[in-house]
Assembly symmetry: D2
Homo-oligomer: 349 residues x 4
């Protein structure tokens, strides 16, 4: 940590900073400059309270050199975290996982049919929302536990693993009974009560980046889950807010190699929410894998014209098959493989 | 609602849009253009599912003309909502309310002393966090219910009303027992379970704008509270995320007159979080009132150098007195008044 | 300057950084930390080439402590720059200057009538574009030199000073013949050839902040003008790009006190372009003055319905009179005054 | 174009809008709604002056349905523009072009050596700045015409085509004498005098997206060049401004498929400026090609530690070879090819 003094700070101001750093239990290393003096804080263990230093007279700025997170960092754990699901899908290793399904679970016929189709196309994880966070209180809010039961049935019939969202602390317990992966959505990335409960659930957690979250904030939110003893976190880039209205969000694919350098956790991409446009899902899905993503989560709908939510960004099933083929080739071009297909249905658990 | 067709959409595509609109129970009005055709949806009652239209073949874009929110709008209620607290403070009328206090409740001496000082300076509402949402799981998380009890004691001694934050649905019930106003923080603006519970609490709610929330999203989140039967919502502009690192956030003061035109709800500003810099709180507090804010919420700390959170943006008590004076003059310059001072302590409830 | 090493940087990597800093002629001060080592560069004179250090092996990040600009900084010159125009208007002192007029000069009747009206309302500087930078090549591009002649005529008749835009290096010479202040627009803030030419023009320059320029970039662009020997630069906040579409831009009023702390140059605000909405110009003009702006530049049009550009954000003349009154009261509330009215027309130069 | 009326607009207000549209020579189609009325403008030929309608009483908003650009659009020209350079490189067809070289031309040895290396690696276009736009007036500004002569010499020796930047209108004429492609940088994307001159140069133009330019603005700037009769424009995504400081810019790869749908012009990506970090150039270069880019422009430097600019984002030559290999495989995975290698040096022109 570096405490930068204003150019007109007095020697007494500098001394107060030095004394305060020592009082906090660290070493202080003043660095005089032509324009201004800075004071280095030596021995930062990640617990320094910067705001106390920022508030001292003559202090211009406090610059953070150490990262504020711990257990999620590469420095804490060098080798990548690999998460293995009950159906054999491994996330975070050399294989690229494909998660797919409708935005919302709408009916038995819809989710079972959809599950069959994405399984036949080669996906190994089924997505589908039972609890839906919606900007408007008047929009469809999901089928709740009835939807979870249908997802579990789809798993029984196809062998697909299930990822679905929890939107409040109580919901975590219900979702954990049915799902293989608990999803935490972008709007809840800093819902710390929810993160803590997910950390205690014992289930892998798919944590989506908030609409304007920095990468540091994403990692700090993951840290909440790890701090509860749950190391099975999958991060997800799904687009950030931008000034251009051509796409719903701005898919920040550079976040993928940035996160991979900072953290041992797997990171996947959501090109459906990341663009909001069906016609952009295939090129951006390809691009995410080329950038190094450990997988994709994609919305597919058997009949997007009649979807209850997000129809405009859902792929038609034949488009999903095309995406699988193209992404498989991109993965091979960079020395990776898609997750192996599930064994034939008769062997499904 | 206007459905814009791609330039190469066929007449059949246009017909499908027209038929779908009629099937949904609305009238369709095609508008041919030189470049492309658009189809107007006539009779929009706010329940149209746009994604169904967006998913139709040949559709380029769906443009929303109607607002997605209802009860919060000026069209629903012409006259401004005025919220009256037990100590007589009125929010949303001609008076400008001043809320002040420390970021966090830290001790009995701190909060009681602080309350006395801001009351003497003329404020009528005391702020102070007992439950603190923090980006890092390793930061101070607040005194919880013990903090609430101290706030209630400060109210008893000074007559100030209390505003303090709830961070999860269960917390709403506890906070509602002690506080005059329940605050919902920026990170929780789209925590819909929390909004609904606050809507059922019977208490006024201070709803802060999310870090990258559009004004429409802010109003839709307020709509969640009104939809539960609670019309006592105070909106708060507290800065949005920006690309410039000189300030912690970018205080969007234009949101104040924009919200006032769209909604009957009161809106205040938080220049402390909105700038993150003590030296900018006074000018931006003045600017917010000049822009038409119904009040300010400001961080003040008796000893910012030893604050447990947000020390760098907290005013010293004499600075707060200066702010009160300057804001009072600005209010008068535009024909408003500060909330009258509270009667002397012996009359406090 | 602080060179932060990756956590797995070797002692040799650190040594290379130390050696390189010394080779560059500065002192190196290593600061070991628990997570990582940093190396302070002592004696930074503002000419350090950071990219050379960033490129060294094991370097994670280079953090700038010194500011990259010089002559524009408060550290270079403590007292505020005050610019005095031929008609007596002083910009940057205690007076608040009002600049007003149409977006574009459209005709003799329009500009002379407008000049009379804003002068009668109390403004002292007339704005009006003769060269218009337009996003589309098919939009009205201005009356060019004929427009400049009309502006000069308006000055002769009213005593108002003239501010008008130059859009390329050659244009600077023509504009300098007619104008009291040469405006450089937001799109050209980093058109360095234009900045240099304006720096050599001998005229005061009004430099608008680019649509997504950081405050450092704005000050560096001003530095280009000062580096040519021209210290008469007026900065202008006019809104930055945002994700919300309610307003054309997001007026960043906090930039005003931030710039005032960093630089001795005057700064004004443009609430017309900053909001793009006529109904928001008055509240945001008030707010800018309350935040400490040294003046406003505002679009007024005698007949906005028939304006050739920017009609929707132009005030009607009676609205401008209302703005003058309100802004005058705000100025007095913070101990400032509007620029005194010009003497009666018979005394105009 | 759709003119949306405020909910309290009177029938007279609506009539004025209808009359004004007719007076402008178009048809008006009112669309009544439950909340508000809208008026469609039928027959928009792209020349409608929206601000005139926005300024009418009772108008809430004007919504643009037609695109403001013409010649750059797919609607103007269905088949993709393919630009062929003198050395046989074709840009915009099925081949993916690789442009590479140092940020700045620094010396004869540097540029000739570099040219040889990138040519041997398979690139066909050499980049290198002779005129450098720099945020600070005190940074290295390039070798000017001496640099151009060195680039021409590198072309003679290697057969590579040359792309280099012009930073002002006069510069265009000089650059056009030496370069195969004239580059217009991000800061100058809306320097309309420069765009016009480039449009009259007769040379292909590489137009980089501005730091916060919308895709519409990028296309409108290209339109300035086409409007001068020069259809040989290559667009370039190079990152937009963001709130996260991990990367220099946020590379918006979705812009690639978005532009390809809207326009017939080729678009390439610059992962060097787009990320600012050497370690992110390879993954993001791969991702850009996977997203459909027609090529890459990449900074390579023989000795980044001693580069005069942008050292931290320049690849080492062996890294560039690795990028060529990986990008070639990605291109094949989506059915494209890299531009064929140049014939051996003895056949260079």
């Amino acid at each position: 940590m570096l405490v930068v003094m204003a150019h007109n700070a007095s020697p007494e101001d500098v001394q107060v900073v030095v004394d305060t750093i020592r009082e906090m239990g660290y070493e202080a290393a003043p660095i005089p400059g032509k324009q201004r003096t800075a004071v280095g804080l030596v021995g930062n263990d990640g617990n320094v309270d910067a705001s106390r230093l920022e508030a001292l007279p003559g202090v211009l700025q406090v610059i953070h050199v150490s990262q504020p997170y711990k257990q999620v960092s590469r420095e804490w754990r060098e080798e990548p975290t690999v998460i293995e699901l009950a159906n054999g899908t491994r996330i975070g290793g050399n294989e690229v996982v494909m998660m797919a399904g409708p935005c919302s679970v709408e009916s038995e016929a819809q989710i079972l049919g959809m599950a069959q189709q994405i399984r036949d196309a080669g996906a190994t994880v089924l997505r589908g929302g039972a609890f839906k966070p919606r900007s408007s209180p008047y929009s469809f809010q999901g089928m709740a536990e009835a939807g979870l039961r249908l997802l579990a049935r789809a798993r029984d019939e196809t062998g697909l693993a299930i990822v679905t969202e929890a939107i409040d602390p109580e919901g975590v317990d219900i979702v954990a009974q049915y799902a293989d992966i608990i999803q935490i959505g972008a709007r809840n990335m800093q819902n710390f009560s929810l993160l803590r409960r997910a950390g205690r659930s014992g289930r892998p957690v798919l944590l989506k980046r908030g609409i304007a979250a920095t990468i540091n904030e994403l990692l700090l939110s993951a840290e909440y889950i790890l701090a509860e003893g749950n190391g099975q976190v999958i991060l997800c880039e799904r687009g950030v807010r931008s000034f251009d209205t051509h796409t719903r969000n701005l898919l920040d694919l550079t976040a993928i190699p940035v996160v991979k350098a900072l953290s041992h956790l797997p990171i996947i991409a959501d090109p459906s929410h990341g663009t909001g446009l069906r016609s952009k899902v295939i090129p951006m899905g390809r691009a995410a894998v080329a950038a190094g993503a450990d997988g994709l989560i994609v919305e597919v709908h058997p009949d997007p014209e009649h979807a209850l939510s997000d129809g405009a960004q859902s792929l038609y099933p034949p488009q999903f098959e095309e995406l699988m083929t193209q992404v498989g080739e991109i993965a091979r071009a960079i020395g990776r493989e898609l997750t192996p297909r599930l064994p034939s249905p008769t062997h499904a658990r």
